[in-house]
């Protein structure tokens, strides 16, 4: 409760000072919109449906692309961890593509898939899967062999060992890889939406882009706030609970 109060007063004070500076003309309105202007944009665009609609389109791309990135990245990580040949070949490819900001795939994605959802999915997948793959690989390689030996003496074999021992042992690594993959995918998607016009739907990035073209900085700031909120919510709702579980169980520092 006390934390919420501190948070509330902090942001209230910040907004008040900002509003005051704009109203008094210290900050010119054309360069910095007042918080009241941002708020009225947020309210009107929420009521007319443009903002929720764009957010839904963006989130759909992110969630589906990320899920596909995970579904591809995890088994590839297992494969690379399991077979030396793939580690020295595919592992290197993954390392290279992880270093490449996935927005760089945009020209090829457009050429291959056109101005469609598929191009967006492709960029999100390229942003997330390599991180997840590499993290899975290093998680498995860092699993103490004694766990597998202990499991063997208890009669665990093959698939059972993989699902009940190796994957759980690698979980802390996999989760941090998933987090990194999520961050990469989210940033690349925003860049892609600002950079490319996709005819199948306008996401948050497109709104931001139009805000810029119309010089509607209240809209730009409003959308930026929505993007921040989505990022914060995913972290708090999706990753924080798993990370808390890992900290508690493994006894690692919070």
């Amino acid at each position: 409760m006390k934390r919420w109060l501190a948070l509330l007063t902090f942001f209230a004070a910040l907004t008040a000072v900002w509003e005051l500076l704009v109203r008094e003309g210290v900050w010119p309105r054309v360069l910095v919109p007042a918080p009241s202007a941002v708020a009225s944009y947020l309210i009107s665009s929420t009521l007319d449906g443009t903002l929720p609609g764009a957010a839904a389109i963006t989130l759909r791309r992110l969630v589906l692309g990320y899920a596909a990135g995970f579904i591809l990245g995890l088994p590839l990580g297992l494969l690379v961890a399991r077979l030396k040949y793939f580690e020295s070949t595919l592992g290197l490819v993954a390392l290279g593509f992880q270093a490449l900001p996935s927005i760089c795939w945009a020209p090829l994605a457009l050429l291959w898939f056109g101005q469609t959802e598929a191009a967006m999915f492709f960029i999100v997948i390229m942003g997330s899967m390599w991180s997840i793959m590499l993290a899975t690989n290093s998680g498995i390689r860092n699993t103490p062999p004694i766990y597998v030996r202990a499991a063997r003496t208890m009669g665990s074999r093959g698939l059972h060992t993989w699902i009940q021992v190796i994957l759980p042992a690698a979980l802390p690594f996999i989760i941090s890889g998933m987090k990194q993959g999520w961050a990469f995918a989210w940033r690349s998607l925003m860049a892609a939406e600002i950079y490319i016009t996709i005819i199948t739907g306008l996401g948050l990035g497109h709104l931001l882009h139009y805000g810029r073209e119309l010089h509607a900085m209240d809209a730009v700031l409003g959308i930026m706030i929505v993007i921040i909120l989505i990022g914060l919510l995913t972290d708090k709702l999706l990753f924080s609970p798993v990370e808390r579980f890992i900290h508690r169980r493994w006894g690692t520092a919070e």
Partner: protein, 270 residues
């Protein structure tokens, strides 16, 4: 000193190691870890294998466990040749090797879940029984990292006992514990063994520990790893590791072991 042949008693062996040899090939050359080792362990017997580090005793334990295969010879468990690891021969390692993603009861249930023909309720009851046996019933839902070193090894002991193995194989399980905790565990292990009468093979480099726990102490020396002697420990149980009679045994055993070691290679604690 007895010969390997005289080791065969009239009762059938629970564990039989027959002519086992093993050589490791490394980049530094070959090391013969075991050379024609024969060992018969009776049902319910507590055998300690004593030797300095690097004498091949851990390798022998791994071969009995089925985690490694011998180059020649074979191991019989209850008359059946050992070809793989299995829950009839549970191992307690030097480190607890507990799974950090499971809590205490989850760790004990791991092996029980792999035993067919048990209901969920029976599994839980068995796990609770063994947790009680090692005195940790209050720590059922506790995470592994919250336990002390001694408690972790107790959980590992409960986990090893729970699937009711034919034999329990212990590889210096108390080596990393402090002296006080270790003494407590000597008492506990003896008490549990008196109750369950599990066949135990216990590897150690500590002569006093071997004399305290074993019905029989088997001497091992390296280069190549061979059995050099056998001692029956004829002392009443429970034994106190600090008793004078035990010190007498341990001195005799240490002297015998040292006579087989090359100078400069002695790493045996008394």
């Amino acid at each position: 000193m007895k010969t390997p042949a005289s080791d065969r008693s009239s009762t059938p062996a629970k564990l039989a190691v027959e002519g086992v040899s093993k050589t490791f090939h490394t980049s530094q050359g070959s090391v013969q870890a075991l050379d024609n080792v024969n060992l018969h362990v009776r049902d319910g017997e507590f055998v300690c294998i004593l030797g300095p580090s690097g004498c091949g005793k851990t390798t022998l334990l791994n071969i009995i466990a089925g985690l490694e295969m011998p180059d020649s010879g074979r191991v019989l468990a209850d008359g059946t040749p050992v070809t793989d690891a299995g829950s009839d021969r549970m191992v307690m390692f030097q480190e607890p090797a507990l799974f950090p993603w499971l809590n205490v009861i989850g760790n004990i249930l791991f092996g029980l879940k792999l035993k067919p023909g048990l209901s969920e309720k029976e599994r839980l009851e068995t796990a609770e029984f063994y947790l009680h046996l090692v005195g940790l019933e209050k720590f059922m839902r506790v995470n592994i990292h919250e336990l002390s070193g001694g408690m972790k090894q107790r959980v590992a002991l409960a986990r090893a006992l729970a699937p009711n193995p034919v034999a329990l194989l212990m590889d210096e399980p108390f080596g990393s514990l402090d002296a006080l905790t270790r003494e407590q565990l000597y008492g506990d292990l003896q008490a549990i063994w008196e109750r369950r009468r599990q066949t135990i093979v216990f590897v150690t480099h500590n002569a006093r520990e071997a004399a305290c726990l074993g019905d029989r102490v088997v001497l091992f020396s390296p280069h190549p790893g061979r059995i050099r002697g056998r001692f029956e420990i004829d002392l009443p149980r429970p034994r106190d590791i600090n008793s004078v009679e035990l010190a007498g045994y341990s001195t005799t055993i240490t002297r015998a072991l040292k006579s087989h070691l090359k100078p400069g290679l002695v790493e045996v604690g008394e």
